[in-house]
Point group: C2
Chain length 409, copies 2
């Protein structure tokens, strides 16, 4: 294929959206533009589905200002998908890439996408095709191996830190009536996201007071004792829980009812673990609990995006293209922590097979002994990722005025 | 009482927290400071409870910088309460106010608080006491009479507009799998808050696609037809619903079960209307729907606060104090819309009895004919309140590359 000198770039976005995955695309496109080894720059609509269906867009026809705006546009501008590739799909992928003279394929995604990229790179290499495949890390779940952290995580963390602090102030203000609040976050199998709610804590008695991660089974009795302890001490409690919490039997904790009409989705699901625990508290402690569940809002909030995350996402895009054009393939870009204070990062490469389908666990050392909060080592790890301190709020001294009358209530 | 020349100011915050009620306090304190008719400036801890218990703080001992920071600190820094005053409490209130030489009492709250303020003003006047009582409007529910709108509303509206737009982009990106999203907002009895989700809509086919307000009963069949129509047309749907939706019988729509253990709170509540409707969709349309429920996060988000709202909240505080010190009493400050484009407002006064315990309804003309969206007149009314356009996001042209291969899927 040496005679064909057209060399195009293709970018694809995969998996769940984040606040910064478009920033990676902006990095790739910006770096590729004007490079002498590049003719056209394409984007795949809805990730790998766009490649299979040749549904590609031409970045050369986009307004350069729009490319720059991608750096501050949440979700996935090209669209994503959750499509499980079959064996015969890989041949088609190679065919489609060849038909469009794609020499550099950059794929932003999590460990599933890295597996796809890995298989594709291996197959292209086996067939002697000129195709450089580089993975661009992206996942709010922060569970890719080797890389210190994943673009997308710092922003979901900043959202949750901010929301928990704000929502905690809400509970504090009105704690004469609404005393217990549960905040349910994403993060099905790992505690990375839920743990980030601790990053906005102003002091030991500030929200969140308790954090429950899916790495530990939730034991109802311990949970209720924890809540009671905090409540007795402070008169309030803000509790952050992961949507993927399970009991000792490994069953997901969900408010559900076998009694209601069911359908092909199985038993009617009437709410998540937040509602389940609110009911548990109501039943056993006789206190009404509120439940906030920001859901997908947490992973695509540009108002709360981390500047560090936005910048790193852009840089991993730039590095991914540079590496591809310099002949690297079958690798993913990694972020390396270079310095703690002030925080600085650098970028490296790892073999895709080291990250494909593998999950980085939330370390045991990041959970406290009582299994009801994060440890200081987690705070040290995650604090730089949210991109600087949260907005400063007023702290009043509240010096009391001397009482003049007999006690009333 | 003419011989006692000490004249103090007292500020109280009441009801649910907002992003801007502290800004009103900052306005009051800033305006009162240095006024020759004022000796001390106090704040009541937990609203009217702080007055009853003489739990007062001295603003004179606060750092002036902290007072200014209140302009950007969400929730209620002095604390709030939901305490229903009994008849005997009013005598105690007057006694406590007199004991601390309070001549100017400024109370920020909703229509309940305005009732308290009204009764207090009337009683003081009947007893010949020198007490000026001025109400400071505050409610995310936007349901106070006479005033064009209420401080707190513009910010909850900006949060919901932003979150719905972001969350809509999330659904759009991944619509090959997660196609339907329900966003449940606050606003128990009126549609003001839920309606605001429309303010971030980028175009006719952008989120939100459907909005259901508590002013109309939710009819399951119409709802399912609406969802099916949008889904068939766009392949996705983002649906915003008010937590207070009811069916034709006037019953709240909630996922609940008579089968589960119940307690003094009645039947176990397993989720709100969002989960209920997600189940309805799953059952009848066989599509899985996600549910986002930002809960209290929406009313105290400083990251999404409206600059117009922050400014107006500060100004109503300033005006409230000025009016009190100039001899007005038994009145609430109102916001008057002076100009549409560019938006300008002015401030006035209304008798407290005009607003006490009364609720401003969400106008019929603000709901579309099909009862599944807001009208253009609502958008015209509410758009200026969110304080300028939302952050601009990239809009790609997405010019397609010519296909080269036979159709695949």
């Amino acid at each position: 294929m040496g005679e064909n000198l057209t060399r195009n770039v293709l970018v694809a976005q995969s998996g769940g959206p984040t606040a910064v995955i478009n920033s990676s695309v902006a990095g790739i496109v910006t770096e590729a533009k004007g490079n002498e080894k590049v003719d056209e720059i394409y984007g795949a609509i809805n990730g790998i589905l766009g490649v299979l269906n040749e549904d590609l867009v031409d970045f050369g026809l986009e307004d350069p200002a729009a490319i720059q705006q991608l750096r501050h546009t949440p979700s996935a501008a090209l669209g994503s998908c959750r499509y499980k590739l079959g064996d015969r799909d890989y041949a088609r992928l190679l065919e489609a890439l060849a038909a469009h003279n794609v020499r550099y394929f950059l794929c932003a995604g999590g460990n599933d996408s890295m597996d796809t990229a890995h298989k594709l790179a291996r197959l292209a290499s086996a067939k002697g095709l000129e195709l450089q495949v580089i993975g661009v890390p992206k996942t709010v779940d922060n569970d890719l191996m080797i890389t210190d952290h994943c673009p997308g995580y710092g922003s979901v963390a900043r959202f949750n830190a901010t929301a928990t602090r704000d929502s905690g102030l809400d509970t504090e203000a009105i704690y004469t009536s609404d005393t217990i609040k549960i905040i349910e976050t994403m993060g099905r199998d790992t505690g990375w996201i839920t743990a980030s709610t601790a990053l906005g804590r102003d002091g030991e008695d500030s929200a969140p007071h308790l954090i429950y991660l899916p790495e530990r089974p939730l034991i109802a009795e311990s949970f209720l004792n924890d809540v009671k302890d905090v409540y007795n001490r402070l008169g309030k409690a803000v509790i952050c829980v992961c949507e993927g919490l399970r009991n000792e039997k490994g069953e997901f904790l969900k408010a559900s009812s076998k009694d209601l009409d069911t359908d092909k989705f199985g038993h009617a699901q009437l709410g998540g673990v937040g509602e389940y625990l609110a009911n548990l508290i109501a039943k056993h402690l006789k206190i009404k609990a509120r439940c906030d569940k920001p859901g997908t809002i947490q992973r695509v909030s540009m108002a709360c995006a981390s500047q560090v995350d936005l910048t790193e996402a852009y840089e991993v895009g730039r590095v991914a293209f540079s590496k591809a054009v310099n002949g690297e393939t079958d690798k993913m870009v990694t972020i390396m922590r270079k310095r703690e204070d002030p925080y600085e990062s650098d970028y490296g490469l790892v073999e895709l097979q080291e990250v494909a389908l593998r999950t980085k666990k939330f370390p045991d050392t990041f959970i406290n002994k009582q299994s009801n909060f994060v440890s200081d080592s987690f705070l040290k790890y995650a604090t730089p990722l949210i991109g600087g301190p949260l907005q400063e709020y007023a702290h009043l001294r509240k010096e009391r005025v001397k009482k003049q009358l007999p006690q009333y209530m």
